[in-house]
């Protein structure tokens, strides 16, 4: 990429995001978690040795988030768990959005029999209840020792369809709008129309969906772990949450409040960061909304 291209890219895409309040805060939150997942485990050591004498300690300098039911530091677990949350969960939602977008856009563009076929495929995945189907699919593949990417794909297979359906509807409605007609008349190549014009309109939409998928992907991957269908990671936040609720009964005892609180706080913050960023992206890139600012 040429230097001036990079500069253009910065002014077109990055700078607006940094000036918008919502997207800036959202970006900062996400950046924080990405740092946590990448360099966090290197900086923060993980000591999973249970220590029954130090159970349920309140937050302190030694244990920023306190300790859990086993006397293990919660902060360390959150930091190390962020890696599997970010890798498995974000990867799964990423794949879901990717598949959903490609198929959705293709459906929006293709007419006639090809469009009908894609429509039918989307429909098939829509009507099959996803969570039980995922469990069965994972069971079918259980002897294959899948890696993270493959498991993420397995999860994504049952998440993409609603998005594809919505995107195809969006594309259909954008397609009929005048400025696209105009680009067509100007004889712009179809790929240009596809990626430049429509993508710009769809980005906010795709983004918000990506964020919405995170929760689904998180639930699905935890479900798989507990059923022994994905590699078990005790520091995955969803797994920690299950321990807090069922094994430690944290709701029933005042001592356990911080245990539950800090896990939920981190899950909520991560997703909230994503939602903020997506709302910011929407405001920045939706040309009409921008005109209003």
């Amino acid at each position: 990429m040429k230097k001036e291209n990079i500069a253009n890219f910065y002014y077109d895409y990055i700078q607006p995001l940094l000036t918008n309040k919502k997207s800036l805060i959202g970006l900062m939150i996400l950046l924080f978690y990405i740092l946590m997942a990448t360099i966090g485990p290197v900086v923060v050591p993980l000591d999973m040795n249970s220590n029954f004498a130090e159970r349920y300690q309140k937050p302190s300098l030694k244990h920023p988030f306190g300790t859990d039911y086993f006397g293990v530091d919660i902060f360390q677990q959150i930091v190390h768990g962020s890696r599997s949350v970010i890798s498995l969960t974000l990867l799964a939602s990423f794949f879901a959005v990717l598949i959903g977008t490609v198929i959705g856009v293709a459906r929006g563009y293709l007419e006639g029999i090809a469009g009908k076929i894609i429509d039918a495929i989307i429909m098939v995945f829509l009507v099959i209840p996803s969570f039980p189907a995922l469990l069965i699919l994972a069971a079918v593949f259980m002897n294959y020792d899948l890696n993270v990417v493959e498991i993420a794909l397995l999860v994504a297979v049952w998440l993409w369809a609603p998005l594809a359906k919505q995107i195809s509807a969006q594309v259909l409605s954008i397609k009929s709008k005048e400025f696209i007609e105009a680009s067509k008349m100007l004889n712009m190549p179809i790929s240009y129309i596809l990626f430049s014009d429509i993508a710009k309109l769809l980005i906010p939409y795709i983004f918000i969906n990506f964020v919405m998928q995170i929760k689904g992907a998180m639930e699905f991957s935890v479900g798989l772990m507990f059923l022994g269908l994905a590699k078990f990671d005790p520091t995955h936040w969803g797994v920690m949450l299950n321990y807090a609720l069922y094994q430690a009964g944290a709701l029933y005892t005042a001592k356990g409040f911080h245990y539950l609180f800090f896990i939920i706080l981190n899950i909520v913050l991560l997703i909230y960061g994503g939602i903020l960023l997506s709302q910011g992206v929407e405001e920045v890139f939706n040309p009409r909304l921008r005109g209003n600012e």
């Binding site: 829509l126 039980p132 918000i208 709701l251 009409r288």
Partner: protein, 328 residues
């Protein structure tokens, strides 16, 4: 009329692909429903597990060597007769299981959907109109947070707060078993009271996500040309809001409504078991755990049929209320 024939044909094809896919998937699951029984037979009679498996298969009426094609043929021909199959684990027809559990699931889920959708639409539209105000901030922040909380956490929380601590909600069941089912006011009110816990656990996260979607759709549509024309014509804000924006923003959501009902039917195993509510999610979980392939296929088929019919109706209704869409 042509539209109906086309649409029906299309949905029939989708249905055929979907249930065939499910059938193949389910029948390729590793595991044998008779294995548990075989182990106890092997132990009692001190024999090899292979031999015990043979006996167990016979006891449960399973033929492990039957080819998948024959099994598929049986499944389809049964289905054509309105028979959803046979549960080896419960030794009963899937139809009977459906008849006993589905009405309750459906009751809670339609209630939850209706409530979450109406409130979500209202809140979402309201937030979009009050863009860049504190109200919008509060609505979207709160719904983002609720949206992020896993539903089973909410279920345990509701159970703990309302049933254990405050004791305002009853614990377990669809109705108190010592009351006779009837159309009396008392019974109906009990049914609603018992459904309240699971209903809230399902509805609250749903509501949050409807709110967020509606907020997004509304702010997009508010910028559309015809809204601007309306503004230019000097119509009052509220009229514009009510008449054009809200209606148009709602349309795409109506389409996903039918699908969400189907999604929820298959996925409430945890919530139902936390509240001990007698729904279909329980059987879904059990069927997977004990590898009851007949029951599993039957339940899947039921939900697929339901979602397809619901989509059909939704499309139809959608076309009726949206002047821009015409039935071809």
């Amino acid at each position: 009329m042509n539209y109906f024939i086309n649409k029906t044909l299309y949905l029939l094809i989708v249905f055929a692909i979907a249930i065939s896919g499910v059938f193949v998937l389910v029948n390729n699951m590793p595991g044998d429903p008779a294995y548990g029984l075989a182990v106890s037979i092997a132990q009692q009679r001190n024999m090899q597990i292979e031999q015990a498996l043979e006996i167990a298969h016979k006891m449960m009426g399973i033929d492990p060597h039957e080819s998948i094609f024959i099994r598929y043929g049986k499944f389809v021909s049964n289905l054509l007769k309105g028979n959803f199959g046979y549960s080896a684990f419960y030794n009963t027809s899937v139809n009977e299981i459906i008849a006993k559990s589905l009405p309750w699931s459906l009751f809670v889920i339609s209630l939850a959907t209706f409530l979450s959708f109406t409130i979500g639409i209202f809140l979402g539209a309201f937030a979009a109109q009050k863009r860049d105000t504190i109200i919008e901030g509060i609505i979207s922040t709160v719904s983002s947070i609720i949206q992020a909380i896993p539903p089973f956490i909410l279920a345990v929380l509701i159970l703990f707060v309302f049933s254990v601590r405050l004791k305002v909600l009853p614990l377990g069941g669809a109705y108190p078993v010592d009351i006779e089912p009837s159309f009396s006011l008392e019974f109906i009110s009990k049914i609603f009271l018992h459904a309240l816990g699971p209903m809230l656990a399902i509805a609250i996260p749903q509501m949050a996500s409807w709110t967020l979607s509606m907020r997004g759709n509304t702010s997009q549509i508010m910028e559309e040309d015809f809204i601007r024309f309306a503004e230019a014509r000097g119509l009052r804000d509220s009229v514009i809001a009510a008449k054009y924006v809200r209606n148009n923003a709602m349309l795409p959501l109506v389409a996903s409504l039918a699908i969400s009902v189907g999604y929820m039917l298959g996925g409430q195993t945890l919530v139902e078991s936390i509240f001990n509510y007698p729904g279909i999610g329980f059987y879904f979980g059990k069927a997977i755990a004990v590898r009851d392939f007949g029951l599993l296929t039957g339940l899947f088929t039921l939900i697929v049929i339901g979602v397809i019919l619901a989509t059909f109706i939704a499309d139809f209704v959608y076309a009726l209320i949206d002047p821009r869409v015409k039935l071809k």
